[in-house]
Amino acid sequence: MKHLKATTFLIAAALAAPLAAQEAGGRLDIVVQPEPPGLMLGLVQNGPTQLVAGDIYEGLLIYNTDLEPQPGLAESWEISEDGLTYTFKLHEGVKWHDGEDFTADDVVFSADVFLRETHARLRASLAYVESVTALDPLTVEFKLKEPFGPFISVFEAATMPMIPKHIYEGTDFATNEMNATPIGTGPFKFDEWVKGSYIHLVKNEEYYIDGLPYLDEVYYRVIPDAASRAVAFETGEVDVLPGGSVENWDVPRLTEMEGVCSTGEGWEFFAPHAWMWLNNREGPTSNKLFRQAVMYAMNREFMKDVVWNGFGNVPTGPISSKTNFYSDDVTHYDYNPDKAKELLAEMGYDGEPVRILPLPYGETWQRWAEAVRQNLTEVGINVEIDSADVAGWNEKTSQWDYDMAFTYLYQYGDPALGVSRNYTADRIQKGSPWNNVEGYENPELDEKWFAAATMVSPEERQAAYEEIQKEIVDDVPVAWMLELEFPTIYRCNVKDLVTTGIGVNDGPRNAWIEK
């Protein structure tokens, strides 16, 4: 017997209109950085692709800034009490951009065929899925092998984008010619991509929600130099600077301009969490005392203020304060160089040099590494900054050739989706920089991670994760640096740009321009 678990939302929360009446028409210029490698969201899911393709492709659900699921392509959904059956009722009259109907078969194809092959992150969640069945053209049923708490969070556009079956079935997905002209169900259609310059999307007149989108067209502008991007915003060439597209130092200057607004919202679903992998396998970093010393040696508040210009939060542990099941009942590593020196003396640190590998994502990250080096040098640790470009960074981290390496990862709303992958021993896999790269092994804790993922009751899960956090923070498998906050800067006449947990990625759907 099925039981109505979640409330059915009949009206999209986004449509809860503010006082002013929305005005249709207009064009939005949004910076995209770097240029995406491709727009086929089922094949590529890096940040820039998500940003652009989030307007073209859609998922079954949308998540608000509190990470609660909202109707997307699915009008309503039910979860059985045992947490094993998820049934989605699809929106009626949805059409692909080429005019074909969107049906339950497309959902089955996307989840069970296409994404199982191409989407590594989703694949981990799909491992829990027993079957995906189209009950009728507008109803889909996911059956799980065992309960998987975070399963309701995997229906976001970039996590489980809907792929048109009629285009991809039976083809080689990676080389399908249609990848260049993506077909989705989203509010905007792909029009043109001038490489190195811009991507042009136009309004989907057939969009299944009447009146949406308001905008006529969206330009995603490729401007490779951060300073130029700032200039582009200042001169009015672009209207929106998504988080991270200008350096933090520029943010106050730009937001102080007249008619410019900014918001820190729209990143809740990702909750980007930055840390340094400390190589648990060898060298000084394999010693827990050393790792703790590193934590005490760093003035993370200072770094946040200076390097990140005050944006973000200093984290207490592996789970972001924005993610579900966060707890701050853990050991706090406040700046304490003396304590760091004591710990170093206790372990008998002999001055063996350690290398820091910064993340090659621009000046901020470089400065951050320099600040860390300075802090560590001050407590007597010999530090050298290693350098590598994006490819080199990937190589070094995935081949474990580092002592300390900066990184940040999205948490996708749930520790089981975005956090545990970095700490459990089964995810120690050479060759990928997206798992337990630090080589932390704690079998006892692994059990707790696994158990917490398959619990059904949120209260149980909360308790389990609190325990995990308390324990792991003492071990310092990695040095948690910052809960990143990427303010989105935009002109104030652009309204309703950030209304969901993924922010600008699907922002143009609801956005409108006040004339």
């Binding site: 390097v307 000046e363 590494a369 600040a371 300075q374 350098s387 470009d389 080199g392």
Partner: protein, 279 residues
């Protein structure tokens, strides 16, 4: 007139020497001039210049002393410039000398090799080399040397070919001297002047190249250089102009000084170079 007299009567060249000596002085005595190292965060970030006496040029994005960074940056820039030029000379001079002196197949082979390197886009090659070997002072220096030796080889070859035709080389041959000895003792010393001139200009170009690489993020993260400073500051150029302005000026001054010296040397060492080259 002696070479020194000619050189010292050249106002431009003397200005160049003065500027360069100043830069060298600052580079050498940087640790004495500044009590803190250039990476140390000493004050609040973005301190404007001329506001604090202790920090005359202000502070950078992390609150580090810009003046100290400039002084230490001089070391790196000069070092990279000098060493890469030396390495380029070490490749180019022997190659050009052998090609010019022995002619024939040696020449053909050496020149094909040189042409080959001239055909590869220079700056792009430098970028790829640095990216491949990862940015360290050594790899940057090497990459700059690798892209800048071909003109040396060509110059030395042309010079050697012209000197080789002079009669004192015949005289040395008739004296029974061996070919390598003639090349080293008789011919090469007579090609030194244009090489010195070219070298002084190459140091300047190398400094520019290093700074360009740094600007693209391909600098040694452990070495404070002027290019690093500009690269690091370009995103804040609007709010904190001095962070990219001062290192920019430092580069201009140093490169200018080297060019002035190079021209002075050229005029002093080769007063008749132009006439000789035409015949």
């Amino acid at each position: 007139m002696s070479m020194w007299k000619r050189f010292s009567s050249n106002i431009g060249a003397m200005v160049g020497v003065l500027l360069l000596l100043t830069v060298i002085f600052i580079a050498i005595f940087a640790p004495l001039l500044f009590s803190h190292d250039p990476w140390q965060m000493v004050q609040r970030p973005f301190l404007a210049p001329f506001t604090m006496q202790a920090l005359p040029l202000g502070t950078d994005t992390l609150g580090r002393d810009v003046a100290a960074q400039l002084a230490y940056g001089a070391r790196v820039s000069l070092l990279v410039g000098l060493v890469s030029t030396l390495v380029a000379l070490l490749i180019g001079v022997p190659l050009g000398a052998l090609a010019g002196f022995y002619g024939g197949y040696v020449d053909e082979g050496a020149m094909r090799f040189t042409e080959f390197f001239q055909t590869i886009p220079n700056f792009a090659l430098a970028i790829v080399l640095v990216a491949i070997f990862e940015p360290t002072l050594a790899s940057i220096t090497l990459a700059i040397a690798i892209v800048s030796w071909p003109p040396v080889a060509r110059l030395v070859r042309a010079e050697v070919m012209s000197v080789r035709k002079r009669e004192f080389v015949d005289a040395a041959t008739l004296a029974g001297l061996s070919k390598p000895r003639i090349l080293v003792r008789q011919v090469l010393p007579n090609t030194v002047s244009p090489i010195i001139v070219m070298a002084s200009l190459m140091v300047a170009t190398a400094i520019l190249l290093e700074s360009s690489l740094s600007f693209l993020g391909l600098g040694d993260p452990n070495a404070m250089s002027w290019g690093y400073m500009i690269g690091a500051a370009r995103t804040v150029i609007r709010s904190s102009w001095w962070l990219s302005f001062f290192p920019g000026i430092a580069i201009v001054i140093t490169v200018l000084a080297l060019n002035l010296i190079g021209e002075g040397l050229n005029d002093a060492l080769n007063p008749h170079l132009s006439r000789k080259g035409k015949a």
